[in-house]
């Protein structure tokens, strides 16, 4: 089958994709995993450590330190006000 060229936005060269810094409030997390499973860039994984209530909060996956695009999804979906991001580029 002939290769189909990937569709690219016309302004792909000029658009700067933002980079986000992830902030977490570990003690608020109840471990629902909404942020981890539905982050569009798969930036987050469960922590090795538990918080005081025994929940594993989200941390940035190894190698994903600059993968967050600051889309704000995790902040909106987190039921516990336990995660947010800020643009660093």
């Amino acid at each position: 089958m002939a290769a189909v060229p990937l569709r690219r936005p016309l302004d792909a060269e000029t658009v700067v994709v933002p980079v986000g810094q992830v902030f977490v409030i570990p003690e608020r997390c109840k471990g629902c995993r909404f942020c981890i499973e539905f982050c569009p860039e798969q930036v987050l994984v469960e922590s090795d450590r538990m918080n005081a209530k025994g929940y594993r909060y989200p941390v940035v996956a190894d190698g994903k330190e600059r993968a967050c695009v600051n889309c704000g999804f995790c902040r909106l979906i987190c039921p516990e006000f336990a995660i947010y991001t800020e643009e660093i580029r």
Partner: protein, 274 residues
């Protein structure tokens, strides 16, 4: 380059009573997501926060009013809408949002909903539909899908449910939408549209209640219900609302969208001065 940074506070903490966090809602419950989304929409609407008020009834959803750090009132069961109408008429500059559950708003409070929508009272109404009475132990209610198992319908619910968006639009609500808490960006945008309109605005928000509904209906935990939404939902703003009943079956679709956006004269009691 570092990964996550640990902090103690959140950018919308000023809008929630952060001293009351963590809230009472169960792990995997969708209520916190809907609340976080609405808190952001309140800020992003640009309306002064001292002009925005929130009224809830009774239930797990009824707790929302108590967690938001604006003027709010947790009314008696089913009476959020009449209380909100009074607020709105006495102080017309307020942006009054009613935030309550399917049972509160459509069982005991159903009559108030019908008449407020019919009159086009200037209210922003958000109903969290988790298909059951979560707070009191998972009883069936007016939005429980046909055949669903709850503590009071152990052999399957025999009653057809309300199709809330169809009810609202048939009564002339000027803005009608349905989203799930997984579709949180669309919900946020929809809340902003609703906050920017006058008249009776209605958003149905589907949310997991793993304790009262998910586990007894082959759906599972909150996260499983989110994946269920991902698989089963279709966005179709032009859909025929009469057909938009929710079945919550693994082979049935859930239609989402901002369905109605019209203008209609807003309610003023007869005889009131301009």
């Amino acid at each position: 380059m570092s990964g996550e940074i640990y902090v103690q506070a959140h950018p919308v903490d000023h809008l929630v009573r952060a001293d009351r966090l963590p809230h009472i809602w169960c792990p995997g419950c969708g209520l916190g997501s809907a609340t976080a989304c609405f808190a952001s929409a309140m800020v992003d609407s640009g309306l002064p926060l001292d002009k925005q008020v929130v009224v809830s009834g009774i239930g797990c959803t009824g707790r929302v009013a108590g967690y938001l750090n604006v003027d709010s009132f947790h009314t008696t069961h089913g009476r959020a809408i009449p209380f909100a109408i009074g607020l709105k008429l006495a102080n017309p500059e307020l942006q009054v949002t009613v935030f309550s559950g399917d049972g509160d708003m459509f069982a005991i409070g159903g009559n108030h909903f019908l008449h407020a929508a019919r009159r086009n009272v200037d209210l922003n109404v958000v109903c969290i539909n988790n298909f059951n009475y979560g707070m009191t132990g998972g009883q069936f209610g007016p939005t429980t899908p046909l055949g669903a198992r709850t503590t009071t319908t152990p052999h399957g619910n025999a009653e057809p449910p309300f199709n809330l968006v169809h009810v609202a639009s048939s009564l002339g609500a000027v803005f009608v939408a349905r989203w799930t808490v997984l579709h949180i960006r669309q919900l946020h945008r929809s809340m902003l549209r609703a906050l920017d309109k006058r008249g009776f605005r209605f958003i149905e928000v589907l949310a997991p209640c793993p304790v009262g509904f998910g586990k007894s209906n082959d759906i599972g935990e909150g996260l499983d219900e989110m994946w269920f939404y991902r698989r089963q939902c279709v966005i179709d703003p032009e859909t025929d609302l009469a057909q938009a009943t929710i079945e919550m079956k693994h082979d049935s679709r859930i239609v989402l969208g901002d369905f109605v956006d019209i203008e209609r004269p807003v309610f003023r009691p007869s005889g009131w001065e301009e």
